[in-house]
Symmetry: C2
Subunit: 404 residues, 2 copies
Amino acid sequence: MEGEPTLRLRIFDLNCWAIRYLSKRRQERVRLIGDTLRKEGFDLVLLQEVWSEQDYSDLKVKLAGCYPFSHYFRSGVIGSGLCVFSRFPILDTLLYQYSLNGYPYMLQHGDWFGGKSVGLVIMKISGIIFNVYITHLHAEYCRDKDAYLPHRLVQAWELAQFIRHTSKAADLVLLGGDLNMHPGDVGIRLLCGWTGLRDAFTEATHFEGRKNGCTLVPDNCFTDKSELLPFPLGIRIDYILYKAISSFTVKCEELKTTTGPAPGTDIPFSDHEAVMATLHIQRQGQPAGATLGTADLADVVTEARTEVGVGLRAAQRQRYSSGRMAVLALLLLLLQAVAALGTLAGLGTEQPFPKLSFCLLAFVALGVLVLATGLHLFHTMEVKMLHGTEDQMWMALRALQERP
Amino acid sequence: MEGEPTLRLRIFDLNCWAIRYLSKRRQERVRLIGDTLRKEGFDLVLLQEVWSEQDYSDLKVKLAGCYPFSHYFRSGVIGSGLCVFSRFPILDTLLYQYSLNGYPYMLQHGDWFGGKSVGLVIMKISGIIFNVYITHLHAEYCRDKDAYLPHRLVQAWELAQFIRHTSKAADLVLLGGDLNMHPGDVGIRLLCGWTGLRDAFTEATHFEGRKNGCTLVPDNCFTDKSELLPFPLGIRIDYILYKAISSFTVKCEELKTTTGPAPGTDIPFSDHEAVMATLHIQRQGQPAGATLGTADLADVVTEARTEVGVGLRAAQRQRYSSGRMAVLALLLLLLQAVAALGTLAGLGTEQPFPKLSFCLLAFVALGVLVLATGLHLFHTMEVKMLHGTEDQMWMALRALQERP
């Protein structure tokens, strides 16, 4: 862009819902996504839930011509699911795994196994340094009683802190991904307020697509209709956010979402709609001001900190009860050991329990001891991280109060 | 420092070996450390292995007068052990937990439970932005057959990447901590080469203390003499590293280590010696060049990548064998279920096994199944992270090759 006044960048973001063995018509949809990306020729593609490295490799081969640069972020048991395809060279990458991400024993939700993270990709396009972040936060399974809210808030906070601390040499910051937060939720206000990122949907000069920019809609053939009953139009949880850091201005010229089945087919790309933004970047503009005033930002941080505090107390209770269970199991085992030794030493004239029940009881106690100890360790880590985040937020509040 | 030409900064770094219930004379030593810090009045204190938050709180109370600013980094089951005390305000903090840190089942080593991390503390001293990093890498238990080398190299790489990506707005970068690497080890060459950090010991104009700057020495009353048999003088594994980023020069005027018992007492502060550096920072100097040439740096990255590859193959073998064990246990359980159902359905005329042995066998198989599945998941994560690091290093090598 040396000499050129503007740069136009087309970005594609999609949660692909490509879980091996579980997602319906996965391979067909991944092929479809690849075909469309090849045809449309975006500048930058941010994909989430590409859980299978084979799917990524297939896409990489297919897209090698038009997106010669790509990166897959590995983490967790089944991967982070995050990958990036780009027309422009990727200079460097960094992965930050969130410290909290649900519970390993919530197998039906499974977020823990994904190793949820934020991936950073650094690119230089026409002399402009881009820090591109891609992420996928913990899902919300029940909005009324959202047990994962504290974890998602810790993730939103860590995401905001990671962006702030790693983007200081960047000219442009972009974040794309499935944030699993509705517009206006405390986490999204925290993220935008603390980083200064702007929402492409609200800033777009021109919008085309699902009403209110919804990306999870009930009339998608793969979504669970019952979950979306309170939201007949659907919800918007997939975002493209951006900001200019140095002397650049960035505007969203156009934002689009897909609207159901891909052209010429009977199926959509995924259970989510894709988000596509066209950004217009100009040198020597004025960087935009903060998205929130200091007082409003302090209110948001306080609100988030309260929710983290609620999570902290819940985690402390779970740590306590799992610890108590472990101690009880240990006591039972010790009691049985004493009884067995007593019988062996001939203190009792006859065996007090049937051998089988005695052994079964010992095994059950041992199983409970192992599981409860594991849970206790896990919840201790959870307490540590929630406590640490509460502290960091408190430090942020103090810094905000000291601002002129 | 506006108007002033120089800034002199005195830094204290110590691995405190303060493990509750395990470390000898812990409380006495923590009191001693606090007294000395109060008396000596350093500018910045970096402590590792302060595992008990109570010890940190006690130190905080004691040091409130001379070090009014402090931060404790929480992570893992028992904490990160990392804390910072400062004469100057702490503006912000960030914690990055290493993706690999030993094995939870290596209880005798216990590093996994510490949640090893790097903590970042941002400070502004006389108008100069300091990014201060504190860390503690995985211990080396057997130098000849170091099973943790790949994990420590992943940590060194993540540490270097974290420093590079978060320090771009800093004027000065400082890193203090127990790196568990000897000078000249591939990890320390990787860290210094990839970040440009310089070793205060080798750069110091004046040195006073243990020969060769050793921080783990056999004549310390708390060290395990047998572990240090091949190193009669001891080893140097605690470092203060630094670099100037923008138009500053930084020099190490003086480096000291403690030499045994603290003055006026019969015990040393810890099983490690403390490292104390006096840095001299000057504005409008020339930033120092790279610590390694491009070709040398590429050699170091290649060497580290080879070691990570060795770890990757070991992890893949462990993943495979734990997976096979889980499958075998599952098969045994299924076989038992079929036998039990057969007996219940009266297919066999008499019971083929004694009931007790049958039940015991089922419980053992169940236990093996649970444990082997857990191990399989853990080693899958390990494979993912080692693989990811290998990829990142490969990308770094490519970038190095493209350098003019």
